[in-house]
């Protein structure tokens, strides 16, 4: 038996090998175009995590909005007291006017010095604001003490005894 047949198909072939060749030959590679079966279903993308994140952010913004809406009433109050129909001006208030008059010459001198004038105007504004705040504060404390005094009067033993006498 010549082994060359197995190597390069030369020489005498072995009948058994030939038989095997015939049997297995049906399974031999036959060149043909590759056919990809159209079975792959496109996978649906899961948007849920993104939606959850978006919802969380939205809720956070909403909560922040609610908080800001509630907060401004705390943080940005009106800074001026307003009194509708105030009482007649007290005669004591009149001497206040000369104070501003006293400040006027200072302003005039500051106009000459540009840098200093800005700071002095600022200081004047600050002082005006401070005085206004002080007035408001005094007014607020006045109202508060009035009310507290009224409570004190009503809850004092003397008043209670007086009321008991009235009832009696």
């Amino acid at each position: 038996m010549n082994d060359d047949y197995l190597w390069d198909k030369t020489g005498q072939p072995d009948p058994q090998i030939q038989q095997l060749e015939e049997i297995l030959g049906t399974l031999r590679y036959q060149p043909k175009p590759l056919a990809i079966p159209n079975l792959a279903v496109p996978r649906r993308r899961n948007y849920f995590p993104l939606l959850a994140i978006a919802a969380t952010v939205l809720l956070a913004i909403l909560a922040g909005g609610i908080w800001l809406r509630m907060r401004p009433r705390n943080e940005v109050p009106k800074q001026q007291a307003k009194i509708v129909e105030p009482a007649a001006p007290k005669p004591e208030e009149k001497p206040v006017k000369p104070k501003s008059a006293v400040n006027q010459p200072v302003l005039a001198t500051n106009r000459i010095h540009g840098k200093r004038s800005a700071s002095s105007v600022l200081r004047k504004r600050e002082r005006e604001e401070a005085l206004m705040a002080k007035e408001q504060l005094m007014l607020a404390l006045r109202v508060t003490t009035q009310k507290l005094h009224l409570v004190h009067t009503k809850t004092s033993p003397a008043t209670q005894i007086k009321n008991q006498h009235r009832i009696g």
Partner: protein, 194 residues
Amino acid sequence: MKPLFQMNIRTALIAFLLVLAPVLSANAQDPRIQMGSLDHLAAKASQTVDVNIDERLMRIAAKVFSDKDEDEREVKKLVAGLKGVYVKSFEFESVGQYADTDVETIRTQLRAPGWTRLVNVTSKKEGMLEVYLLFNGDIVGGLAVLHTDDKELTVVNIVGPVDLDKLAKLEGQLGVPELGIESPKPKAKNDDEK
């Protein structure tokens, strides 16, 4: 898919609660009373006092208090630690100008945890007077006074550590002697009668 769905919902809920929790806790013990709902009464009132002094204004005001004047020194001491003073007072010409709901909006806030009603005085002449204190532990964190009369509605709110003794001492020192303490209208009537 189901566990993923549940996990995301849970994450979203936790995130939402984390965001909301500080908001809710911040408002739980707020010494500041919201009085904006009373603003509409200004149109009906014959006299309105509206004072809003925040911490910044308080600090500015403290600068102009004289240390030489004893009264002003006392006031300066009193307001030193305060964070705000807010007053809304409405006086009306006639009865029934404000609704119970107006007062209830204030009372609802004063029912919040932390607030304690210290005094409640009811009289025919003076109406109803309530004094509330906000306690942060043992420390007073705020004061609220609510005075409701037929023709008057006053809300006072002091934010910060209030010293009631000092406040009481101020009576008569702020240009409000005895005549300012009682309701002015009955006095005016008496004057007329005289």
